[in-house]
């Protein structure tokens, strides 16, 4: 017993020796990061002091903690990938990684992580890093507080800020991603959380899900992207308290849903997007307590949407509140607030006594003849909408809100 305690005490005393800290600085004996990593033993910490390091293709195959002190700059001089990690454990914090360089042949990354099961990428800055963070076959990672910017102009020659492929249990939080192709791209990524990020000015999507299930994203902001968020071929996605705004352009969407099932869209705010939510072949979605204001179309449903519930949302001053392509679906529209509702509430229970038809005739006309949009706001169209409202003939029979609310709901920021 006594021996055991002695051994334990010795081990504890020896522990700091086992985990050394290795200092790298421009004037130190170890003056490149690659050298520092080569000299370090597994479980060591490599402390990189401020300065500019022109390095690339740094490979890491052992358990390491990389800490930048005073934001050291790692510049790839446009010549290729910078950190390539293929190891179970990895930690990196406080680096500025820049100029990875574009490539049409390979997906170069600022930090590439392969086959890791415990990693953290925290408080780094990336500038023109092509694919800034590239995760493959990894799980249980935290990507937090990174600031990723690029100045992409075309989809073909730009990369995604955070790109994950075949991953699970990721947490992507408090990052700022600007000017990339996709802000955050997830393909085959399951059981992950994406929250409190700001995704802005990305030329394709702010956040992009492909074949990713059981994820949730909340409290994010998606501003002025090609499309705010695209969720495709996925199921069980929870989307809450996000802000989608100013995703404005000829082919822009706040939220693009394609082939997604059993998901929840709660408490989000859609403001000034060309299309707030665009849905195609999406089933069993619950879209509740969201606010749609000043969008071109608040909700545009293309073909094949079944059994979706749209209720308790606020529709405020959108050019078109709703456009439904095909009739005969069993989607439910109930208890929403529509700012263009013209009914009355005699019994003062807060629910309008006359059902509301949110789809205007013009919206129907435009969905079949897009060029007719030229006539927007013309007197003739106003007359047409009015006559259709009085006696509906063309607009789908079942697109109707039987219990429209008289006052807007408090939607945002309340769970």
């Amino acid at each position: 017993m006594k021996n055991n305690i002695l051994i334990a005490a010795l081990l504890f005393a020896a522990f700091p020796l086992l985990s050394n800290t290795l200092v790298v600085c421009p004037d130190c004996p170890v003056n490149t990061i690659a050298k520092g990593i080569a000299l370090a033993n597994p479980c060591d910490t490599v402390l990189v002091q401020s300065g500019t390091y022109y390095e690339n293709n740094i490979e890491i195959n052992k358990d390491l903690t990389l800490i930048g002190e005073g934001m050291p700059v790692v510049d790839g001089k446009e010549q290729g990938e910078i950190f390539t990690v293929e190891n179970k454990y990895f930690y990196i914090e406080g680096f500025r990684i820049q100029n990875v360089g574009r490539s049409y042949v390979e997906d170069r990354a600022g930090i590439r992580i392969r086959k890791s099961t415990q990693f953290t990428i925290r408080n780094n800055e990336f500038d023109e890093a092509f694919f800034a963070i590239y995760l493959q076959n990894s799980s249980k990672g935290l990507i937090e507080g990174n600031h990723i910017s690029a100045h992409s102009l075309e989809e073909a020659n730009s990369g995604n800020a955070i790109h994950a492929w075949y991953c699970s249990y990721l947490e992507i939080a408090n990052n700022v991603v600007k000017g990339n192709r996709d802000g955050i791209y997830l393909e085959f990524v399951d059981n992950s959380l994406i929250h409190n990020n700001l995704s802005q000015d990305n030329i394709r999507y702010g956040l992009h899900f492909m074949f990713s299930d059981d994820d949730s994203y909340y409290d994010n902001e998606f501003v002025d992207n090609g499309a705010g968020v695209a969720v495709m071929y996925s199921k069980n996605i929870v989307m809450q308290r996000n802000v989608f705004r100013d995703n404005w352009g000829a082919a822009s969407y706040g939220l693009l849903l394609k082939d997604i099932f059993d998901s929840e869209i709660f408490h989000n705010r859609f403001n000034q997007n060309t299309v707030g939510i665009f849905m195609e072949t999406s089933n069993r979605l619950k879209i509740q307590q969201n606010e749609f204001s000043e969008n071109g179309w608040a909700v545009k449903m293309s073909g094949g949407n079944q059994t979706n519930i749209l209720s308790k949302n606020n529709f405020l001053h959108n050019t078109f509140n709703l456009s439904v392509h095909s009739a005969g679906t069993d989607n439910v529209f109930s208890s929403n607030y529509w700012s263009d509702y013209a009914g009355y509430d005699l019994d003062k229970d807060g629910v309008g006594d006359v059902p509301h038809r949110p789809m205007k005739l013009f919206s129907y006309v435009v969905s079949s003849t897009p060029e007719a949009m030229v006539l927007l706001r013309s007197l003739f169209i106003d007359l047409l909408n009015f006559s259709e409202k009085v006696s509906p003939i063309f607009t789908p029979e079942n697109v109707i809100d039987e219990t429209p609310l008289m006052t807007p709901l408090p939607v945002f920021g309340k769970v």
Binding site: G296, S368, T369, P370, A372, M373, L375, R377, F380
Partner: protein
């Protein structure tokens, strides 16, 4: 001509109806500005009103003014003044007074709310420009119609009919045409069709300025390319001017030939 213009203008500017017309714009614009802090929204609402009211009021005023000032016109005709000067002067007086009503009525509230400090200044100027041009066009058309028809009722009816055709029926036919031929690429056809009608052209010019073009996707892109280019803008302004000039020439022609 200038004397007659001056006389007509000051006669009209003192009229009650001019005040009511200007007052309406003033109250409407002021009300909208007080209700909404978003200037672009107010420009859109004002656009809806201006595009309906300017042509309508110009048409009504034009016909009314011609028939009401008939005796005075006859008196003038007996004087040694050129016929064209009399009628062109009267028409210009009418159109200018209507334009002044619009500029004052809609302009002052916007100025009060500081439109020139905001990014909506350009849109606001396009709105006023279109309002003024529409007033001129429809005043000329109605004057021409009134001059052609001795019968008051017939003149009124025809003038209203022309307004109805351009403001409502034209769009209906356009929509019908678009949905008939929807299998064909219609961007250019719809562009040409809407450039030909002054009300539609004014509306599209404004809508594109107000960034609704994003809603029009492909059509919007074609429109923006056309109207955004110098040539397109020149053509649009030229079309509006032609719409003003043709009825004015008509007025000239009729007044020279007619036996009073």
């Amino acid at each position: 001509m200038f004397k007659i213009f001056k006389y007509s203008f000051f006669d009209l500017i003192r009229s009650r109806w001019t005040y009511i017309y200007a007052g309406f714009y003033f109250l409407f614009t002021l009300g909208m500005l007080m209700l909404s802090s978003d200037l672009s929204k107010v420009v859109i609402s004002s656009m809806n009103v201006v595009l309906i009211l300017c042509p309508l009021i110009a048409t009504m005023f034009g016909v009314m003014y011609y028939y009401n000032s008939r005796e005075f016109t006859e008196l003038l005709l007996s004087q040694p003044i050129k016929r064209t000067s009399i009628f062109t002067g009267q028409f210009l007086g009418l159109a200018t007074s209507l334009s002044v009503s619009l500029l004052v009525g809609a302009g002052i509230p916007f100025l009060m709310f500081g439109v020139f400090g905001s990014d909506q200044a350009g849109n606001f100027l396009v709105l006023l420009f279109n309002g003024v041009v529409l007033s001129f066009i429809f005043a000329a058309i109605s004057f021409f119609i009134a001059l052609k028809n001795e019968d008051k009722i017939k003149g009124f009816g025809l003038a209203i009919l022309v307004w109805l055709l351009l403001a409502v029926v034209y769009d209906g036919l356009l929509l019908l045409g678009l949905s008939w031929f929807r299998d064909y690429p219609l961007e250019k056809a719809s562009l040409i069709a809407s450039v030909l009608n002054p009300i539609d052209l004014s509306r599209v010019m404004l809508l594109l300025k107000l960034d609704i073009s994003a809603l029009m996707s492909l059509t919007g892109a074609v429109y923006r390319k056309f109207l955004g280019s110098g040539v397109g803008m020149a053509i649009s302004v030229a079309v509006l001017l032609i719409w003003t000039i043709i009825p004015t020439l008509g007025i000239r022609r009729v007044c020279l030939r007619r036996d009073f």
